[in-house]
């Protein structure tokens, strides 16, 4: 409608609307837009972290990044970690959700307990796992030695590939409850009539799983995979606390590299460059996710 022909009431509504969304817009700008722009801006400088003094270097940080082996190693680590832990989360999460969907007398208790790893703070979880993994007094090594499976304690976090496998396992343990909850919620909305129709149509338990359950879970799994891929990709605290990126840089992912560059090497400009590069990579996931949801709406 032509603004000139708006009635007084319409103008008042428009003003009220603007006033109501203003706080959100301001907060959004302060906590999302400003840091984003400022990171891109910083990546064009060479900055000494403690003083935040720097000089304009243009795109040379990016040129350096492309030629830097540590960046590519960290990216590879990051991909191994993300794919590894995400796959395990999905497999265990879906399996556990299917089990918890059955009618069992301890179902509600089990459903609450399963959330425990997700609720427990990362620091506490890592401490517990470090005790379990410890080569002197850890229960895992103790059990392995007592059962005769090994003669010497295994160094879970100090050698490769043990360190990466351990990090992936702890990540899977910590985050699979998210998958359980999301899948379980979907499972509960699948109408029983579909399973009954399939039974009458001659589908056995395995057919019913692949012909009814799996197609119904597809949508929710796409969303879970997208979200968890983004979250796992930028995981910092768990890996940092568990291995600190070691041994040497074997479990160093991009977020750890950013942290090291910014606060250990005091190169805020270069750190920002890594961060922007990371964001660009995650943008690919995001675009996939957005295109996916849009195509869902279209059909």
């Amino acid at each position: 409608m032509n603004p000139a022909r708006r009635t007084r009431l319409e103008r008042e509504y428009a003003l009220l609307g603007a006033i109501l969304i203003a706080p959100t817009v301001l907060i959004f700008c302060a906590v999302i837009v400003y840091p984003l722009v400022s990171a891109i801006y910083l990546s064009l400088f060479q900055v000494f972290t403690p003083t935040l003094e720097g000089s304009w270097v243009g795109l040379s940080n990016y040129r350096e990044l492309l030629g830097k082996e540590e960046f590519w190693t960290s990216l590879l680590n990051n991909i191994i970690w993300t794919v590894g832990t995400l796959s395990l989360q999905i497999i265990f999460g879906v399996a556990m959700a299917l089990i918890l969907h059955q009618n069992m007398w301890f179902r509600s208790l089990a459903r609450s307990l399963i959330l425990f790893p997700y609720f427990v703070s990362t620091v506490v979880a890592v401490l517990v796992w470090k005790w379990l993994f410890n080569d002197l007094y850890g229960i895992m090594n103790h059990l392995l030695i007592v059962s005769g499976l090994t003669d010497f304690p295994i160094d879970y976090l100090g050698t490769m590939p043990n360190a990466m496998i351990s990090v992936i396992l702890v990540g899977a343990w910590k985050y699979f409850p998210f998958v359980v909850i999301a899948v379980l919620a979907r499972l509960q909305t699948i109408p029983d009539a579909l399973y009954e129709a399939a039974r009458i149509d001659g589908a056995g338990p395995i057919s019913r799983f692949f012909d009814v359950t799996v197609p119904q879970l597809r949508e929710v799994l796409v969303v879970i995979i997208m979200l968890r891929a983004i979250w796992d990709f930028k995981e910092f605290d768990m890996i940092y606390l568990l291995t600190g990126g070691g041994p040497i840089t074997s479990t160093q992912t991009l977020p750890l590299l950013v942290y090291k560059e910014a606060f250990k090497l005091n190169q805020m400009g270069m750190a920002s460059t890594y961060a922007v590069a990371m964001m660009a990579i995650m943008l690919v996931f995001m675009i996939l996710y957005i295109r996916r949801t849009r195509s869902e709406e279209d059909t």
């Binding site: 009954e196 399939a198 039974r199 009458i200 589908a203 012909d211 009814v212 197609p215 119904q216 059909t299």
Partner: protein, 362 residues
Amino acid sequence: MADVILRDIVKSFGSVTALRGLNLQIEEGEFVSLLGPSGCGKTTTLRILAGLEFPTSGTISIGDRVVNDVAPAQRDIAMVFQSYALYPHMTVAENIAYPLKKRRIPRGERTVMVQKAAELLQLTELLRRKPRQLSGGQQQRVALGRALVRDPKVFLLDEPLSNLDAKLRSYMRVELVELHRRLGRTMIYVTHDQLEAMTMSDRIAVMDGGDLQQFAPPNTVYREPANRFVAGFIGTPAMNLVDGELVLSGGDWTFRTGNLSVPVPPLGENAAAGPAALGFRPEHVRFGEGPIEGTVQVVEQSGHENIVVAKFANDLRITGRAPAAQVWKPGEPVRIRIDTAEAHAFAAGPNGERLNRPRAAA
């Protein structure tokens, strides 16, 4: 030959008994409706026939075999669900083909069979669509297609029309009857809609509280209801049921309540003097003249007739049908006559049996 036999079927869910010794014999090719209010056990009966529920006791036979221990897929039945239960990720063609695929029928044969079913149900244009792209009526036809493509011995239909709008429902009623005529298969149809049951069935099984109340052709159920429940349940507006007592004098029965006294048609041997109920349909009430005097309370105009509710002495309310041309106004005094030749007498109690002498003998 009986096609489906339920013998002494009892079904309990915990402390709730859904069916209390149900006996039902359905002939081959018959269209039978299971009719009753919510919770009467009609859907449980259908699910037991389908093999989706197990009876607590009793035997189920389909064809000439007992199927108590036979899996749903091997019972030679097909079921149409109230919600249609179409597989949402499959196209119409894949939905219809699914039961064939599970029976390992070769792809080529499958396509021909799906095509045939689609033609019968006018779905040919829709074969590549997904269920969510279809209207309710179309989804319903796909569900029917999935059932009939298997050529089952018995079709089980669980309130298949209840999610459709009134116009489509009356259209689908005719379609279903036509389909039944063409296929000649036994169809067992669960509904709470008496109009569906009356218009489509060869016989209606009226159920209440887990018991079979009457199993008879629609006309019989309407004109000779077995008991007071069936009398009150079948017919819109419902039959007038008046509590009072039966008096026998000089070989003739009279029904009395308050100061009202009406002659009753000949009763059978199970009749006894004492508390009873009189039932008469609204179409057997004549307005304008007669011995009973009261006041018009409510008038419902339906275009072709008027439903008139009138109040009489002792709080007695009687519903009748009056021709559309007769204009009645609430508050107006009215005289009525009850066509007692068409009246029914019932024993006392909510399920009191009908006491009239059987029609043929009367």
